[in-house]
């Protein structure tokens, strides 16, 4: 559950349990530098203002609120009448009774829970006893939701960093490639054989760097939910067809027979067209890449009626994947030992990207392989019904 939902459950639940008029959760921020420890009103129930992510929330310095200060030290506090009790500050309305209990998670106070009533002398010790177990449970849920939010923020900022960094990298790499290609083609004067060989090596490394940068960018784009492309109904037949057309020249150049077993009717899945293209370009591209001259790559598409699914298989007669490499295949930067020693350039990111995308579109990916005999990758997606 997201933090906002957890907080809403907690405030509503606490208010209903005590049949009180209002409730609020204040979360503790230990503060940095000049800003000392303070509490933020994170959720309310029965109060007119509902703080949202967009609006600036009310901030209460701990030292200004004796009730919160006491609760944060672990002690529940009852204010029997706000009109006579000087501790009753930052009361969100004309409430006469307040019950304030700590939210403690793993022996640390993470905030306070305030319950309000319009009548004086409304709360007693039995209310504290009733509220404490709820507060403890609430604290655990809040802490769990907070760490999830922190993780998501971290993941998003990591993805953002990768995106900015790769954009910055792509430009100088493209310039270096452009210069080297010009030199290699002899436009800067005739090259000796040795120079040609050396510039060829530079060129190859730069091409690798380019694919690494592009793959990193794809991966970052896949991880950052805000970058996700809009999802629609996608005709998977066209995506597979386009991929085969795109890779046919490369296969021909290598002497690999690339066959596309065209299937039946138009099959529709849910996702982003570009994402599906990327999945198939990676899978078929790998099959062509790791299949020696004279080999075959077959791409087929079928509808699995019993399961209401679509299955795309990419089968090759290539170098295969050793059994011990299979569990690591979809890890970022992993390359099977026999792929590494082959002459083919690879970043080890392609299949991680594929896996990310397949997961995102609710699919599965399986692989079967035998060294020196070949591999079969099977991706399955739920069939999308246009009338849904």
């Amino acid at each position: 559950m997201e933090l906002e939902q957890v907080l809403a459950c907690l405030t509503d639940g606490a208010r209903q349990t005590l049949q009180a008029d209002a409730a609020a959760v204040r979360l503790l921020d230990l503060g940095k530098g000049k800003v000392g420890a303070h509490l933020t009103v994170a959720a309310v129930s029965g109060l007119p203002t509902v703080p949202s992510q967009q609006e600036p929330r009310e901030i209460i310095p701990v030292e200004h609120s004796p009730l919160d200060e006491k609760a944060l030290s672990g002690q529940p506090t009852i204010v029997t009448d706000t009109h006579t009790d000087p501790r009753a500050v930052s009361v969100p309305g004309d409430y006469r009774s307040i019950l304030c209990v700590p939210l403690i998670h793993k022996h640390n106070s993470i905030g306070t829970l305030h319950i309000y009533a319009t009548t004086p002398q409304r709360f007693g010790k039995q209310d504290v006893a009733l509220l404490m177990p709820l507060a403890d449970l609430g604290a655990a849920a809040v802490a769990a939701a907070q760490s999830l939010t922190t993780l998501e923020t971290l993941e998003a900022s990591k993805a953002h960093f990768i995106r900015v960094a790769t954009h910055e990298l792509r430009s100088p790499v493209a310039v270096a490639q452009s210069l080297v290609r010009g030199v290699l083609k002899g436009y800067a004067g005739e090259l000796t054989d040795k120079q040609s060989e050396m510039f060829g090596r530079i060129n190859r490394r730069l091409d690798f760097l380019e694919s690494l940068v592009n793959d990193l960018l794809d991966l970052a784009a896949g991880k950052a939910t805000e970058l996700a492309e809009e999802e629609t109904a996608v005709a998977i037949n066209s995506s597979v067809g386009r991929t085969v057309l795109l890779l046919q020249p490369r296969a021909e150049e290598k002497g690999v027979a690339l066959t596309h077993r065209v299937c039946c009717e138009e099959l529709v899945v849910w996702g982003a067209e570009e994402g599906f293209d990327r999945i198939f370009v990676n899978l078929v591209g790998n099959a062509v890449k790791y299949t020696p001259s004279g080999g075959n790559v077959t791409v087929s598409l079928r509808r699995v009626d019993d399961e209401d699914e679509i299955e795309v298989t990419v089968t090759d007669t290539g170098i295969g994947i050793p059994q011990e490499a299979l569990p690591h295949l979809f890890e970022e930067f992993y390359r099977a030992p026999n792929a590494k020693v082959s002459n083919e350039i690879g970043t080890g990111l392609g299949l991680a990207i594929v896996k990310d995308l397949v997961d995102r579109y609710g699919g599965r990916i399986d692989v079967e392989s035998k060294v020196r005999q070949g591999s079969t990758f099977t991706v399955t997606f739920p069939l999308f019904h246009l009338d849904e």
Partner: protein
């Protein structure tokens, strides 16, 4: 000798373009900002403009092409509307944006993707200058 004006702020990319172009008998003149580029179009009246899509800002190249191809007959660039424009882009291959020359939106004649393949560049330059 046909004159090509390269409007590009990266001097190394200019060098990469200059190499195959000069080797094939083109005179290469350069401008490193959009403003300087527009000025030089008037001074030099090049046979072709090679324009980078991203310079000072991500859309600087678009802005220049729009100014050069302004449909307004009183535009200060009206006399240069006929000069072919070849746009250098990295967007073409790396994002889902698949744009083509569009008279209203992006009035250029053709694109070359970065990194530059010198033979592709020369082929496009030849085609644009002879047309």
């Amino acid at each position: 000798m046909p004159k090509i004006l390269v409007i590009e702020d990266d001097s190394d990319m200019v060098a990469a373009l200059r190499m195959p172009l000069e080797a094939n008998g083109y005179e290469v003149l350069t401008a490193s900002t959009g403003e300087e580029g527009l000025q030089k179009v008037k001074e030099i009246e090049p046979d072709l403009i090679i324009l980078d899509v991203m310079m000072e800002t991500t859309t600087a190249g678009f802005q220049i092409s729009l100014q050069l191809r302004s449909p307004d007959s009183k535009s200060e660039y009206a006399a240069y509307r006929h000069i072919p424009i070849l746009m250098l882009t990295a967007i073409h291959t790396t994002t889902s944006l698949r744009f083509g020359p569009d008279e209203a939106y992006l009035p250029v004649d053709d694109f070359v993707d970065k990194p530059i393949d010198p033979d592709v560049l020369l082929e496009k330059v030849r085609a644009l200058i002879s047309s």
